[in-house]
Amino acid sequence: MIELRDVRKIFNQGQHNEYAALSGITLTIEAKRVTALRGPSGSGKTTLLTLIGCLARPTSGRVSLHGRDISGLPERFLTEIRRQTFGFVFQQFNLIKGMSALENIMLPAYPTGQPHAELTARAEALLERLRLAHRGNARVEWLSGGEQQRVAIARALINNPEVLIADEPTANLDTALAKEFMAILESFGEEGRTVILTSHDPLVVESAAVHRVVNMRDGLLVEHHD
């Protein structure tokens, strides 16, 4: 479904602090599967995630989605694809303070111009599913870590994307909450959503919910596990 061909990413090109995050990745991500990227920090897994999710463009190489090359698209189209296809859960959650949980969840759908009532209904349904319905109107800064993460997940799902991308999802959670997260992940896997995540938490990588683990080191893939 998502194909990467000899993808490289170099930051600060031409300057004294030039840094190659990815040095040639060729990878195919299968649809409807949970794929985990594993590797130490600095291995380039977050960068790979941003390229897969259309948050950035590769310095060289090609990224294609459903056989369609997206690495060369102009920003407008890239944003639209990103909005429709991918949902992001950031490691730091990156929720907007001062706004309620519901408002944060609906945020990615604002530019689509769908009616307010519809969006609210969808957001409430998502909260319901994640067992947070009673906290919909609470300001996000008043929520606990686990609640915030669930809001972040709901936000990622508001546009009903095919792919959910999560960066170090259990890094800020204790074991109980991490297990809860994996359970949610499993339900996603069952309903046929593609999930790509990065982690070096054995709880995640060795979980039954993960179908495939991709190992990385120093900007390159090392071996494939299935």
Binding site: T46, L49, T50, L55, A56, R57, E75, R76, T79, E80, R82, R83, F88, F90, Q92, N94, I96, K97, G98, M99, E103, L107, P108, Y110, P111, T112, G113, Q114, P115, H116, R155, N159, D167
Partner: protein, 378 residues
């Protein structure tokens, strides 16, 4: 279309939520902005309406007023002048006028004493302006004494008070009989203060004035168009107080805009990054910010302008009274006829709303066009 509308509404929802997070600061901003518009609009409306009113009121003043100058200063019109003018073609009427100033030490006010051209004032009586009625408590049939400049005391009875609505031109007038006037000021017989001429054809006025200057070289003719021009340039923005006010307003506005334009806090940068990461285009971010600037400045403009209108025309400009009154003791009470110059209003609108919107946009431009992947890295 429906989608576009809904989309803008969503953007507005977000920007308002964003503004509400710093309620105090943004309300303060709105207040300052509104005040600025209020002051500018008040001055604009007031001066335009007053100029307009002056033009209306003085449109029938004498076509030519002839003064005599001696060593560059006003002097009396001597006997024989009127005859010297004789019959100039185009002049319908030549009238010697008698008027002067009197300083009343009781209330420390200056009055304008005048003999009406058509007479009609009985000897021993005077007709006074409404401000005198107010300041000195005069009414019909009251008596009043004035001490003339040579120390003599003269007494008069008030025959009538001029109507209140005419205060703007008649506030300090004291109309008297010619004989009384000459006696009071010891005005030499046959002399006049100046001469008023009426000319039927407006195109002829200049010619007549030239002829007068020829016949009477020490005279100075003042044309009605010059009178009107004096009042047309009243409160010109290039003059003293007005310039100071305008400069202050511009400075305040520049500070406001600079405050807005001087960069983004880390929090704001992060927010924009998040918006882009979750699927907002650069265009969406920019539109959202434009709404923020636009709504704030539009509200400030509308509020400030409406308040200015009410202050000037419905409450009779209490804020301007001390400015105009200056050191005067007598000040006319008048209700201006509202005259609004649409061009001025439009100019005020364009020079408040759009620069502010631009100022809001400047700092976020950078952040808005940056790639969202920086957010992941945070």
């Amino acid at each position: 279309m429906k989608f576009w509308l809904e989309r803008q509404r969503h953007l507005i929802d977000f920007t308002l939520a964003s503004l509400a997070r710093r309620k105090a600061k943004n309300l303060g901003l709105l207040a300052v902005f509104t005040l600025l518009v209020f002051v500018l609009a008040s001055v604009m409306l007031f001066s335009h309406a007053l100029r307009h009113e002056a033009a209306l009121v003085l449109k029938d003043s004498p076509e030519i007023v002839l003064q005599r100058l001696v060593a560059g200063r006003h002097d009396l019109i001597p006997p024989g002048y009127l005859d010297a003018i004789g019959r100039i073609r185009g002049v319908q009427n030549t009238q010697g006028r008698l008027w002067g100033y009197y300083y009343d030490s009781v209330v420390k006010a200056n009055y304008t004493f005048m003999v009406p051209p058509d007479g009609g004032i009985e000897k021993g009586t005077i007709v006074v302006g409404p401000a005198l009625e107010r300041e000195r408590g005069l009414a019909e049939n009251n008596g009043i004494s004035f001490r003339s400049y040579n120390g003599q005391l003269f007494s008069y009875t008030i025959a009538k008070v001029l109507p209140r609505p005419s205060e703007l031109v008649s506030a300090d007038l004291v109309l008297m009989n010619e004989a009384d006037f000459r006696a009071f000021f010891t005005y030499p017989e046959g002399h006049y203060t100046d001469i008023a001429l009426s000319v039927a054809n407006p195109l002829e006025v200049r010619n007549v004035a030239s002829k007068l200057a020829n016949i009477l070289p020490d005279s100075r003719p003042i044309l009605r168009e010059e009178v009107l021009r004096t009042y047309a340039s009243m409160f010109d923005w290039r003059e003293g107080l007005m310039l100071a006010l305008l400069s202050a307003a511009l400075l305040a506005f520049a500070i406001l805009a600079w405050e807005k334009a001087s960069g983004l806090s880390a929090e704001e940068k992060r927010e924009i990054g998040i918006l882009k990461a979750v699927g907002w285009e650069t265009g969406d971010v920019i539109k959202m910010k434009l709404w923020e600037g636009g709504l704030l400045s539009l509200t400030a403009f509308l509020l400030g302008f409406v308040a200015a209108y009410l202050q000037v025309f419905r409450f009779n400009a209490p804020l301007f009274e001390p400015v105009l009154k200056g050191w005067s003791v007598l000040y006319p009470r008048f209700e201006l006829v509202p005259a609004i110059d649409g061009l001025q209003v439009a100019t005020l609108f364009f020079f408040t709303v759009f620069p502010y919107m631009a100022a809001v946009l400047v700092p976020i431009w950078r952040a808005a066009v940056t790639d969202p992947d920086a957010v992941m890295r945070a």
